[in-house]
Symmetry: none
Amino acid sequence: MKILVVDDEELIRNVIKEYLLQEHFEVEEASDGTEAIEKVKESDYNLIILDIMMPKKDGYQTVREIKNIKDIPVLMLSARSEEFDKLIGFDLGIDDYVTKPFSPKELVARVKAITKRQEKSGNKYVFGELILDDVAHIVTVDSQELSLTPKEYDLLKYFISNNHIALSREQLLANVWGYDFYGDDRTVDTHVKTLRHELGEYGKYISTIRKVGYKFDYEESE
Amino acid sequence: MKILVVDDEELIRNVIKEYLLQEHFEVEEASDGTEAIEKVKESDYNLIILDIMMPKKDGYQTVREIKNIKDIPVLMLSARSEEFDKLIGFDLGIDDYVTKPFSPKELVARVKAITKRQEKSGNKYVFGELILDDVAHIVTVDSQELSLTPKEYDLLKYFISNNHIALSREQLLANVWGYDFYGDDRTVDTHVKTLRHELGEYGKYISTIRKVGYKFDYEESE
DNA sequence: TCATCTTATCATAGAATTGTGAAAAACTTA
DNA sequence: TAAGTTTTTCACAATTCTATGATAAGATGA
């Protein structure tokens, strides 16, 4: 569980960090919105704690840009309670907020609440003898562990979590490769090829949809 | 969800863009009608927000040309409320309008209303035992999945989403084949033939309208 | 009914899309 | 840095789809 703390005041960052470390969270820091966005692009966080009042780029703008890149939960720190309306009104996908001055206990409680939601989602997908265990980051077919490359794993996970849904190459590129991938569509084809091969008997469950893309399609009864 | 904002005033474009971005819409801009038409030819938008008052080519003319190319929902921005009559009178297939000066909230609300309609349409069409599930990209008749070619699928989808509406061959070519298809009208006939055949019992619901084209016509009670 | 116009059907060439293997490029790790 | 992986790109093969035009069938109206 990795958390990014964004605040221009070092003191506040340190306090938050201390408390989160005690709860065994991994913590990184950013002192302004721009730096935060950089970090978001480079690594995956489970939660971002963000101060509204910051020099240069304010919290609202930062959330907006972050949400555009990755859908990461955001907890806002706001100085005055009047801002709440604004927060809610803007509907930027903010998961929770805490008013300064906040009690560390309260903050930790809210952080735990949000991260718990996520843990639950880091699940296990079972399709007959094909199992993807996202917690262990392992895929097995007939109890045999496959050695997938990171891309293959991500692709399979995306397929699996969109069972029965037709996915265009663009969709796949955007969601598996990232919004900023500017390469050939056909890259998807190649990865689908290797993935099908890796999956052996289960490869057939990735079907081709001509002129559209691909679809993972597994029916429980099969 | 991609939206094209067409207005000659940059300020207005920016304001609209800001608010739409907050709602996670993808936004592109055009500063006049000609540019808008170019963009429409090149990519697919879910909605076009169009100012009536523009130099060179006015909003009315622009809508007309756009609607000729692709059937995309249009939301008009009009400066004076007197223009409404005109808007309605013209019957250009405008989906909604907002008067300047507009409150951003109102605009966003209207945009959401229109796009929601579309999202819903990306769903499931049910006509008795004929079902087109656009998410799974599947057509079933009597629970039996048909294997349609891409053109057949697109054609059927267009027919279905225009239930009860007579469609000329030109309309079909423009909307299913693309505005830039310069081929034989008869092509439609052939595809209608194969489609009817594929649909079996349900083929009869595509009726021929002599001298005009075809119509998908299914009544719930049947 | 017949002449005329419109639509249905068919077979098939060639267009377009996907599958595949191999090589190049980019990235990791020791 | 170099060896080893992983990812991307490319070119061509395999496959599937589409457009077309000729002809048959059907509809229309005098």
